[in-house]
């Protein structure tokens, strides 16, 4: 009987882990992106501010008008881990996107430990913008 209960619990845990996805994520944030396939890129930096627990990061690009969701990328961030992604090959994890501008939805599976910020940077001029994330649930 105990063995059966253990198996049931394990199966439930595996099921819940398998169903953890974009829609179940607890932290939901947004920032803009811009890229032209040349000098202008968007660099995204995420930090797991927890010192104890890992978390799962989901990133999704949305073209602006009308909103067209792209594929969802999933990454694991260890405690205190920093993860860098960009719209250009050669800078962190390259997340290929076709549209020039739009916005990035990103989510943290477990809760509040992930932090995100983006830099829209022009290599030709050496200038750009830093844009903090908005909380998707509260707006401005």
């Amino acid at each position: 009987m105990k063995a059966r209960g253990f198996v049931v619990i394990v199966v439930l845990l595996v099921c819940s882990a398998a169903n953890a996805d974009w829609h179940t994520a607890k932290k939901r944030c947004i920032f803009p992106y811009f890229q032209n396939g040349g000098n202008c890129v968007t660099i995204m930096v995420f930090v797991n501010s927890s010192e104890e627990t890992a978390d799962t990061l989901y990133i999704r690009f949305e073209e602006a008008h009308p909103p067209v969701p792209q594929k969802t990328w999933t990454f694991q961030l260890a405690p205190r881990d920093m993860f860098v992604a960009s719209t250009s090959p050669g800078i962190g994890e390259w997340l290929g996107v076709v549209s020039s501008w739009g916005y990035v939805m990103w989510r943290g599976e477990e809760g509040d430990s992930l932090r995100g910020i983006c830099a829209i940077y022009n290599f030709a001029s050496g200038s750009g913008f830093i844009v903090p994330s908005y909380d998707q649930d509260h707006g401005f």
């Binding site: 939901r28 947004i30 803009p32 949305e62 602006a64 008008h65 009308p66 909103p67 969701p69 739009g102 916005y103 829209i120 022009n122 030709a124 001029s125 200038s127 913008f129 830093i130 844009v131 903090p132 908005y134 909380d135 998707q136 649930d137 509260h138 707006g139 401005f140």
Partner: protein
Amino acid sequence: MRVVAFVAGAMLLLYSFAHADWYSAKTHGVFPYWQTGGVWLTIMVFVNCSDETSDTVYVRMLDSGGGGPGGFPLPPTVVEIAPGEMRVFSTSPSVPLWIPVMSGYGYTLFAIEHGSPVAAFSACVSLSPEGPGYVVPAYNLDEGF
């Protein structure tokens, strides 16, 4: 009697919709603008972060000299914003939707009709080859910083 009550209810609903405007909007925000009529312009971006509900965005430019005619902000530009949609405005005809403004600098007031979670920020950018600029997240007008 029921018919009268129904008609009265319907009229009240219609009245409230007809009077949904800048003043009845639930949330208000603000960010600055800067434009030179040439190289510099301000781009204003709004994203409806709701996955389900549409909302209405009101945008009013207020110049540094105290506003438009009579010292009031310019009349609001009104747009519907669908779930997940991004809406863009600017002070230049080269970036639609163009909101013409006379003053070189001032600030932008905006309101969200039903208070949906709308992300908003402005980018004051130069169209020169160097292309410098600034991105300014919106402040909540009801709470300040």
